[in-house]
Amino acid sequence: MEKEKLFEIKDLRISAYNEQKEEIRIVKGVTFDIHKGEVVALIGESGSGKTTISLGSLAYTKPGLHFTGGEVLLHGQDVLSMSPIEQRELRGARVAYLAQSAAATFNPAITIGEQVTESAVLHGVLTQEEATKRAVELYHALELPDADRIGFRYPHQVSGGQLQRLMAAMALCGNPDLMVLDEPTTALDVTTQIEVLKAFKKVIREENSAAIYVTHDLAVVAQVADHIVVLYGGEIMEQGSADQIINHPTHAYTKRLMAAVRPTPTAGMGTAVGSEHDRKVPAIEVKDMTAGYGGIVDNEPKVPILRDVSVKVENAHVVGVIGESGCGKSTLARVMAGLLPQARGDVLLDGNDLEGSLHDRNLEELQKIQFVFQMADTALNPKQVIGDIIGRPLEFYHGYKGKEKHAKVVEILDMVELPAEFATRYPMELSGGQKQRINMARSLAANPEVMLCDEVTSALDSIVGANVIKLLTALRDKTGVSFVFISHDLSTVASFADEIVVLYAGRVVEQGPTDEVLTPPFHPYTRLLISSVPEMRIGWLEDTMNKREMAVGIAKGVEITKVGCPFFNRCPMGIDGTCESESPPIRVLNDGHEIACHRTVEELEAAEAETQQILHGYERIGEDKQLPSAG
């Protein structure tokens, strides 16, 4: 049966004009339809024009861009030829836009309820009472906690995932015909992402609304989209039903995108290290370290983050540190770098004690530990050329000057696979991936023993990120540098790290060689993280929601506790009376694999077997269901 055609984009063309008045085509003739109750995903990397197209559906372009052709039809009516007043009525009322960052969308000084209902009331769609009632219904539909009263809170009083869902309530409040969602889950932790995806999917189905879902993440798309449009350079490469694109892609670009999707983290993904860089002592080690913010009183930080953390980084090894935001991953790296002196415990470099504060460390110690910041945009001084940025550590630590320094800069640029001409450029003249390479090149220039990489791939597109990882692996093999690789993305870590440290609420809950950590038995938190990584499979979201740890673990935030196991409130197998009050014992398995849990290894293994059984059971039910419809 042909569904009602709600929205059509026909041969849409959008261009910019440069200073010489030449036309630069951004969107080059894009055509697709949306039917009622359908979610269409626009997928592509940065620069593919996906956001430009999605904004075009609101008859809006960013400043400097112009519609140069084509039609955007809502119920058969062209929105591009509407008067500005009609367009204003359209936006927010009939087509609603959800920006990427909920934190930036909400006004911190106004209650959530007021902001959610504002647009519907402003456009005269609903009265204030109707809108408030509708908002509460939506809070329930989006499974927000304390739904009847959450509208009275302020944005800072709810979690990031909840705020993201509230933004959906804001968009849906006025019953729009079409919702435009621009990367709504990209900046979230995997566990939060699931919670948000689930709520979005449910509410879209219940409201029978249509949506454009913009993202670069195919695995996410597989969960929510009915129809997928693959974009590259402002052109459609391929479009079709979700099943067709995910399971039978034909275009080479789509296949390429699929290859860059984070694979499910499994054992055997890490690379083995050669023995040529072996030494007796670890390159860097922290022992029983406690650290936090707000000053130190009696060897105890005022705001404690990390507690009794012990981590060893062997020479030329890559240690991946994972955990959700707020677990203390960056804090660990900052302590190692001396940016944050620890309250208790030791930091050792090559077996020698290091001072806590970098002011007390000597030049050689500083040179051996290099910190790579997360955002290359802010980590590079916009007023310095690349040659000066990379040249400074060369001069500062090694005394290179003049021609010698320049030759060295070129050599280092070559190591990060960038041409020598870059030395005279400013950071803003580079792309995101190139800036991140410069960011790493600056640390490399110091000729360090340990590089602390804080979420260096998180802000990059999947293909660009994959290239950065490839580069890091090559650098490790070539130079024998050890890496501490911090990420909230388990699959990236799994593909690159030799060892994994799982941090939860400032404590190490599990650590060991990558293969060991990623094979059962798992710490319940590790299990939760693994289950949360989206798989590029239609129906994965439903499957994973059926797992036990999901029922307990998601929709709750990280809380730092002083006693007991901090994971207790999210753990599916917590022991009442023990876990919340006593620190968990560290269970040592083979090959340095450690799990901090009150449950015994046998109990953890049994739980894993049970999970597998449940999963299998569901798969079989799924098969049964499919049989009659197929026949």
Binding site: E19, Y232, G233, M237, T250, H251, A252, Y253, R256, A337, G338, L339, L358, R361, L363, L366, Q370, F371, F373, Q374, M375, T378, A379, L380, N381, P382, K383, Q384, R392, P393, F396, E417, L418, P419, E421, R425, M428, E429, L430, S431, G433, Q434, R442, A446, I463, V464, N467
Partner: protein
């Protein structure tokens, strides 16, 4: 799949493999002034030239009482008429440019030197140093500028050095606040933290990381501050505490010739006009520049 599609597909994939290609270097961003801005630059340039070559082109000396009578309209060589002592108004304006603009420029430069040094120091060091300097600064800011100027000059006497010093201290307070705010913004940037992690000293961080990023907003503010100082010096002169007669200065010229207005003389209008052209022109240049740099200056203004 058609042959054409196939080749297109290959093209895209080939592009992907070199996706980290050099993006075109963006054209160097130069500040282009609007026509208002250009006229303003011409006006400011004109006055600066007058400052330098003034005495050699003025028809009379500023102190010569060559006119036939006081408060005359333009006649013969007296293109703008005469003032209350029968001196040539045009010559006095030309001579006065030196005093008014010269003193203002010196004061503003000195104010900037003090303000930036202390402001950046407070931002970088923080803690007690920041607290100490900031509170003293707040205290000075709380006093009305003219009142403060009057008291200082009344106590120490009026000389050009004291005038410059007083104006500099008074205006250094607002420069301090801007420099401190800018410095604090920059100090929390990752690139400064990277420099700290590298072990760089305070002076290197200030010179290489902080100042280059603060330079543009501070430069635009400089123009604005100069205007305030011109008005301040003129106000002091108007009250008789600025440049002392018989030396000429635009502010005191307005005061001296005020009574001429009742006789229909323009002698007080011309120096006021000179002050207006110079200050408005500088304001327009600043507006033009900050509009071109995305209004970021407005945000930095405290």
């Amino acid at each position: 799949m058609t042959e054409e599609n196939k080749t297109k597909e290959e093209e895209v994939i080939a592009k992907l493999d070199t996706f980290d290609e050099l993006p075109d270097a963006p054209p160097k961003r130069r500040i282009k002034l609007s026509w208002v801005g250009k006229i303003s630059v011409a006006v400011v340039a004109f006055w600066l030239v007058i400052c330098i070559i003034g005495p050699s082109i003025a028809p009379y000396h500023e102190m010569d009482m060559e006119g036939d009578d006081s408060f005359l309209d333009a006649y013969d060589n007296f293109y703008l008429g005469t003032d209350y002592l029968g001196r040539d108004t045009l010559s006095r304006i030309i001579y006065g440019a030196r005093n008014t603009i010269g003193i203002s420029l010196a004061s503003t430069l000195l104010a900037y030197l003090m303000g930036i040094t202390l402001g950046i120091l407070a931002a970088v060091k923080g803690g007690w140093i920041d607290m100490g300097i900031s509170r003293v600064n707040d205290a000075i800011l709380a006093l009305p500028t003219i009142m403060l100027g009057l008291i200082v000059i009344a106590a120490l006497g009026s000389s050009i050095a004291i005038l410059v010093g007083t104006a500099a201290v008074i205006y250094a307070t607002s420069v301090f606040r801007i420099a401190r705010a800018l410095g604090q913004d920059i100090m929390v940037q990752d690139f400064v933290e990277a420099a700290k992690a590298r072990g760089e000293g305070v002076w290197w961080i200030i010179r290489a990381e902080v100042l280059p990023n603060a330079a543009m907003p501070l430069a635009t503010d400089f123009g604005l501050r100069l205007v305030f100082v011109v008005l301040f010096i003129s106000s002091l002169s108007f009250l008789g505490l600025g440049v002392q007669p018989p030396a000429s200065d635009w502010g005191s010229m307005v005061r001296e010739n005020l009574q001429g207005l009742t006789y229909g003389s323009y002698a007080a209008i011309w120096p006021a006009f000179a002050i207006a052209t110079f200050t408005i022109a500088i304001n327009l240049i600043v507006d033009d520049i900050s509009a071109k740099s995305g209004g970021s200056l407005a945000k930095k203004m405290v």
